[in-house]
Symmetry: C2
Subunit: 228 residues, 2 copies
Amino acid sequence: MELNPERQALLRRLGHPFTDLRLVEQALTHRSAGQINNERLEFLGDSLVNFFVAEALYARFPNATEGEMSRMRAALVKGETLADIARELKLGDSLILGPGEMKSGGFRRDSILADALEALVAAIYLDAGLEACRQRTLAWYGARLESVVPGDVNKDPKTRLQELLQGRRQPLPRYELVDTSGEAHNQSFTVSCELPAQQLSFRGVGSNRRSAEQAAAAAALSHLSTQR
Amino acid sequence: MELNPERQALLRRLGHPFTDLRLVEQALTHRSAGQINNERLEFLGDSLVNFFVAEALYARFPNATEGEMSRMRAALVKGETLADIARELKLGDSLILGPGEMKSGGFRRDSILADALEALVAAIYLDAGLEACRQRTLAWYGARLESVVPGDVNKDPKTRLQELLQGRRQPLPRYELVDTSGEAHNQSFTVSCELPAQQLSFRGVGSNRRSAEQAAAAAALSHLSTQR
């Protein structure tokens, strides 16, 4: 079995060299496209993502309460967040959709993207075991997981970054659009977030300018939180 | 650190020889009894139980839909089921509760028992890793997991057993109370379920006669499902 170039590129971005390529195919197949689709994998992947995020929060915040961890987890595993990660990985281009979903732009829809991402998590688990799966999943989360803070989950990264810098009496960040790519229906935006006081710049990618800015702010927050 | 005889007996029933006994102590401590309690462990344990049950259902029912697996999982991880397992393990006797909860019979309450069980799952994970934890958790589930069937989760084991035997035109099971133990507030009932056609008898334990009958029926169902 051979994957098309688009899917081969996706595998490189995912960072897992699949032994069983049928798992990739299944994970990318929406129920609108066939009997063998990603719904069962999504069921398993959902429980894996929940566990990895719970474990990461448990280890990272030894003093957080159960309620604080629950709120942080809810923000990290919700469909919107998973769909953002899927967009960063440009999953939409490789989805296998039925004709109806294709026409109506299903490759852009949060729920379809999030489900496919969870299915890919399960696919990696079945292909290579828990440790490989945990590493990949947490790597995809990246700055999102590193920048989350108890009690702050309802504030977006840009707001939190601004408050953090104001608290330090440092100049505010500067955001700049550095790249757009992809076709009209499926564009990808890259934004830089510059911190003048630190003379550092961070990048974020998203399906629109706003979410790219948030991703860049999350990367900056993550860096600053390791500096304290 | 030494555990009292009651807790030592609990560890034997749990089937995991803890290296770090402080984890046991913490897992058994309700928030009413102190600052260091089982709430954080319960958060982590909940995600582990969810994952183990999802994985077991995924492997056992290759043809079940995502919806069927979700319904089966919901029935298996709900507080009532976890509390029943906790009662079979006689967890109530070893709980560490604040004076208020003690007085009002907190050791009998479903939510307190379920939370402590989930906390013990996390404690085993932290003590000995994923594989030991998965084995213990699935062993505690035992017949419950083995007797679950897609589409039938809303029927209780006694009903399903009766329907199965009627479908085979075999005589109905006979239930008999064979033992009661424990103090008045915390009794444990053992019931046998005899299958006349098979000349076999199965046992179940519960906090009341009804739940012990259901557990015995689940054990019988589990046996019959492996015979088909």
